[in-house]
Symmetry: C2
């Protein structure tokens, strides 16, 4: 049984308030990104630009900017640091697509498909290094600690996920550790650094970390559900990719746990042996719906979304807070 | 005509004096490395340990330690920072082997061959992140600037090399820029940070940077020659790898520049089209010898070696200086 937490609003939740809130700052961030992805080696801006100029929502840098707004930060340090966050994210996307052998990202062909795996690995390394150069220019050891720690956690989460791949026995708790590391850690850090530049206390840092972390988990869980419940055009990447990659995600974990012996054999064959053609994907999607696994993955997402919203209690207010709350509602209500 | 700079010594130059000089410190560095390559994700220490516990010379961290000796540094900060340098180096090796599809490194099967490309990419990312975490613990923004700058330069050099691959028209000047970035920048940074922890002036920093940079270039040029002039057992990696990968190195650049029309056609076919079977490798090696390209690559290496030695003029003395000088002589005289 899914627990439905109703959000009260007279229109569908949207990212627009947050986009509007940070629009002027985001122009500055985009300038930093464009300027600092340059290199005398032409392939670097060419490849990086393909992904960076693509249809990304800039979700993570937007969070840094919105959290800075929430705290009435009046300086400009967050522009460079938001660019750092986006560079780290872009580097992980480049490496992820190599690791997964993906062909489509944000509705466009992936960089590894166009320029090859080698170029994607090396340009990812460049963006990652460049991100640290930007942090050093900012000069805050506290920010460096937060973002280097997050980077290390992300890499460990990615390896953990790789290890869990094709292992149907991976449980929900283990899976939550994986997404906490590979996805939520950067959301948390993106929000937390806003408290550092605004020179707020540890309690505020913790609250923004918690907001970002829970939003990140919710975001990932919805992504996991969308992978089984969308079409390519809507989601901008290949639907069923997780299934074909033998990737363990929460929908599969729930359906496997709840399944009959025959269902469990189907999931083992699909995930561990790789019986994952289009018919098997269709069957998987049916099982995910019939078992309530998809609906309950979304219910879990709403649970984390509510934690994110409650983490903001007592911090700031006004349009910034409303935008941050609506961003959560949007994340858990994305249509598919 | 190769200019031979004779080194006067009654025995073959060796790394032993430097190894002996830093032995106690290196035990500390190895402890840091072993402790900080751990993770709750078992594949990380397993894969990282394969390469780190391998037969590497620990050349770069050894340089940090030896330079600290040269400056009579009495603290312990350089242990952690030398581990950073080795982590950055190990991360680039893991990614290099993926990029090149290498099967053999330091006489052992490569990590990408054993655990796959995905794991090598992600564990490389972990080591790179962990390196920055260690730097942040050390707390010097100056060191962070030097090593993040070096990392960014390395990545750009790697992409530049990838772009030059299979391009026979790459000239010597361009090639020198590539190896200055992909190899020498980390040698330079490894030496330079010793001056930072020892709190010496900019002139000393520059001198150690120059020592490391020129040693790095010499080191790379000798490696390039060895790739054509050794056997697998001696060099611990596959001889002829550069040739088969269509990699442009100085021996090829010189042989192509000096070759007859037939020779140049041979090189174009080999490097650009990939006519690089064993017979063609044997022919390439003959051309490299007959044109003096191998001998003159080594002469160039000795030139940079001499620059490295001269950079130490007026800095420190005693056994540390003698060990650093002999390390250069060893680098340019490695038997093959």
């Amino acid at each position: 049984m899914a627990t439905i937490i109703p959000f009260r609003r007279d229109h569908a939740p949207s990212l627009d308030p947050m986009i509007k809130l940070v629009a002027a700052d985001m122009n500055q961030v985009n300038s930093v990104i464009l300027e600092r992805m340059q290199s005398d080696v032409p392939l670097i801006p060419e490849l990086a630009g393909h992904l960076i100029a693509g249809r990304g929502k800039r979700m993570r840098p937007m969070l840094t900017l919105a959290c800075a707004h929430l705290l009435d930060y009046g300086g400009a340090r967050h522009h460079k640091l938001a660019a750092c966050v986006e560079f780290i994210h872009t580097a992980t996307l480049l490496h992820d697509d190599v690791v997964d052998g993906s062909n489509l990202r944000r509705g466009r062909r992936t960089a590894n498909l166009i320029w090859g795996n080698a170029a994607s690995v090396l340009v990812g390394d460049f963006l990652f290094s460049r991100s640290f150069e930007l942090m050093v220019e900012d000069g805050s050891l506290r920010v460096l600690k937060i973002l280097s720690g997050a980077s290390s956690i992300i890499a460990q989460g990615e390896v953990d996920q790789l290890t869990a791949q094709r292992r149907i026995e991976t449980g929900e708790a283990h899976y939550l550790r994986i997404i906490d590391a590979k996805t939520a850690a950067l959301f948390a850090a993106a929000c937390r650094i806003a408290a550092v530049v605004a020179e707020r206390d540890a309690k505020t840092e913790e609250a923004l970390d918690s907001y970002g972390r829970n939003l990140g988990i919710a975001f990932q869980l919805v992504d996991d559900a969308i992978d089984y419940a969308s079409d390519d055009a809507t989601m901008g990447k290949d639907a069923g990719d997780d299934f074909r990659d033998g990737k363990i995600t929460l929908p599969v974990i729930l359906a496997y746990a709840r399944g009959s012996d025959a269902d469990r054999k189907f999931w083992r064959d699909a995930i561990e042996i790789g019986k994952n053609d289009d018919d098997q994907l269709a069957h998987a999607t049916r099982l995910l719906r019939d078992s309530g696994a998809l609906a309950d993955t979304l219910a879990r997402a709403r649970h984390y979304g509510q934690l994110a919203i409650d983490a903001l209690a007592g911090i700031g207010g006004g349009t910034a807070r409303a935008a941050l709350v609506e961003a959560v509602e949007f994340a858990v209500a994305r249509t598919f």
